[in-house]
Assembly symmetry: C2
Homo-oligomer: 367 residues x 2
DNA sequence: TTACTTTACACAATCGATTGTGCCTATTAA
DNA sequence: TTAATAGGCACAATCGATTGTGTAAAGTAA
């Protein structure tokens, strides 16, 4: 039972004022209050003023639950990410929350922990929370997409980001990985490198496949024949970067540059190269991918590709809001590809005069 | 108007089944459905089975809005953090989400962007969303805490973490910073260092004040007189670490160790020391604070204090759930201090035989 | 057999806001 | 002067689940 109706209310807690309270005080109906607050045309300006004033006086806060229940739509956007760790997802979430709150929405976050079953449960929860739309980055173990059918059948706006369902039937926002591979490789070519190795990731993951394709495109464009021996496949961690570099340097014709599809493997590669007495970038230029925080700390500072995390979040929200605002009207799914940004740093700059002084600031971010 | 009531429903969207639908199908009242699903004693086992079966058949998902509206409490926990960036807050949020979802709650996240006004708005929003409880880490600009009074007056469970309101009247979870400063300094003492400098942060922030106090405690315990010249105050970024080290090394009696109250300033200090030709840790040992990702990448790998981010999130949720479960009963506020963990790495290890080989793995985290 | 429980379910109010419809009073057009 | 229109507000149903109370039927004790 609501405490407010009791004769002896607990002295420690206060109930929020409702529209009914305002209506009583003003001697009008709740209809009038509701419409006055939402600036409905059928309420006179005088009454609107009175209502607004009273609402301010009592610091009236609408009960979003009641509103959402009645309207069938809340002001909540659901997010499902594999996890909230590392650099990428937190930044995307940051972008999402910022853009969403600017549009009057709040976000409710779920982690799938890379588990399809959990992803399915999260989806159910968001559905039962009556969210206005859902943003998803797929778990690694998601191979079957049927659980998203239910979302579609409810007519609930859905946008994938980063780890997406392929095809033109879904709304999606991704980084243009192929472009990233292309500009990275072109940059190395522009530095005079001709035997450019590639540390590639698992090719069943689209991001790695596309980065490799960009690499191939740039080489082809430059008329450089592909040497399969220069492409090393792994899971892209630091250890594997070390191993990869060891192999590459033992080739009869070792590379003069490395485009790694990930920063961690690039780091390992760089460490191993230096351990073997090579100078980076003079003997071997190195570029990474993802713009992890440590790329600026590394010595030399590592050239990398920024993944536009925040922009991705913003773009995802923009697209989602479009679908939400279409309000059930037929909406043709759209795929957005963000332009990656090449951050050129010392690990790939062959001209010493272009290099930045060592010990450069990490960033303006003060924790 | 609800589409489900129309004669010609849109063919593309399906409405979720409600309790009313189940009741109609079974020819019983909604009361029965509701109570059967919540295992109420007044429903017979046979009926319970029938209801459960039908609910499963139709994949019935309760409308959490309706439930929350009626019960006056949702299954949502509100979080307010300054931002979702860097290493600390995302990890805490990770811990919070994990612990909360385990307990059947979901989290709705707000960023204050270090702005009190935004923090106030976020609080209003969470209140109007009827959350079951709120977790807050204060913005830097929050000096006045009156907006939290409204939360208390509603009887809404509230727990602060990391950046807290001081005093024993609030629930709070923090890292024991004093202990962190103490163990760091003791560690340096154990390495034979005797002139230990301290890079201190703004003393109006409790975390920095406490870290400094721990440093003082350890020195006093070791019988080493305090030399104020060895304490350098700044805002703790990399640049200021460089400047600090420059000053310290120009002292008539330069230090043989540095305990920095932050990793970024420790990094700057380390870079400057090496630039001046000193060897770390042999000439000067260095420790940081926060266990930022780059501490493992740095050369030498940097000794630091782990802030127990995830544990902090978990602890905050545990405490919040206690208050929630107390359900209005008088609850004596509690303050929890987490034990920091000293991660000893090469930057402070004077005995070469104890050191880890360079090029050690960053971590098992594969992005 | 009578009286009293217990079991099993339905009725109906309720949470707080929204909205289609209806009604009355001015105002304007014819 | 009459009719038509617009303005301004109230009524009451509604969203979907929860819960105090009422009431039969079945079971138990006296």
């Amino acid at each position: 039972m609501a405490p407010r109706k009791k004769q002896a209310p607990e002295p420690t807690t206060t109930s929020p004022v409702s529209m009914a309270d305002l209506a009583r005080e003003l001697g009008v109906s709740m209809t009038t209050i509701s419409r006055a607050l939402s600036d409905h045309h059928s309420i006179g300006p005088a009454m609107k003023q009175r209502v607004l004033k009273l609402a301010k006086k009592y610091n009236y806060q609408p009960n979003r639950l009641a509103s959402a229940l009645r309207k069938g739509k809340s002001q909540l956007i659901g997010i499902i990410v594999p996890y909230i760790e590392g650099r990428f997802f937190p930044s995307v979430v940051h972008g999402i929350e910022t853009a969403a709150s600017k549009a009057g929405y709040n976000v409710i976050i779920c982690q799938s922990n890379e588990d399809v079953a959990q992803e399915r449960r999260n989806l159910e929860i968001l559905l039962s929370a009556q969210v206005a739309g859902i943003l998803v980055s797929l778990s690694r173990t998601t191979l079957d997409f049927r659980h998203f059918e239910k979302v579609r059948s409810r007519g609930l706006p859905l946008v994938f980001f980063d780890r997406i369902v392929e095809g033109d039937k879904v709304n999606a926002v991704v980084l243009d990985d192929q472009e990233g591979g292309y500009v990275s490789t072109r940059h190395l070519l522009s530095q005079g490198c001709r035997r450019i190795a590639h540390l590639a990731g698992p090719q069943h993951l689209n991001i790695y496949k596309n980065r490799r394709q960009g690499y191939l495109d740039a080489l082809a464009e430059a008329g450089i024949p592909l040497d399969e021996a220069l492409i090393h496949y792994s899971d892209m961690n630091q250890e594997q970067g070390i191993a990869a570099m060891r192999e590459l340097l033992s080739l009869p014709e070792p590379p003069d540059a490395v485009f790694a599809a990930g920063d961690y493997s690039a780091l390992g590669a760089m460490q191993e190269a230096r351990r073997q007495g090579l100078t980076v970038p003079d003997d071997i230029a190195i570029t990474g991918f993802s713009n992890e925080a440590f790329t600026l700390i590394a010595e030399p500072a590592m050239t990398s590709i920024d993944q536009r995390c925040e922009e991705m979040g913003q773009a995802a929200v923009r697209l989602l809001l479009e679908v939400i605002d279409a309000d059930g009207a037929p909406f043709t799914p759209r795929q957005v590809a963000l332009r990656p940004e090449l951050l050129v740093r010392n690990s790939s700059l062959r001209q010493p005069e272009a290099r930045l002084p060592a010990g450069k600031l990490v960033s303006s971010f003060t924790p």
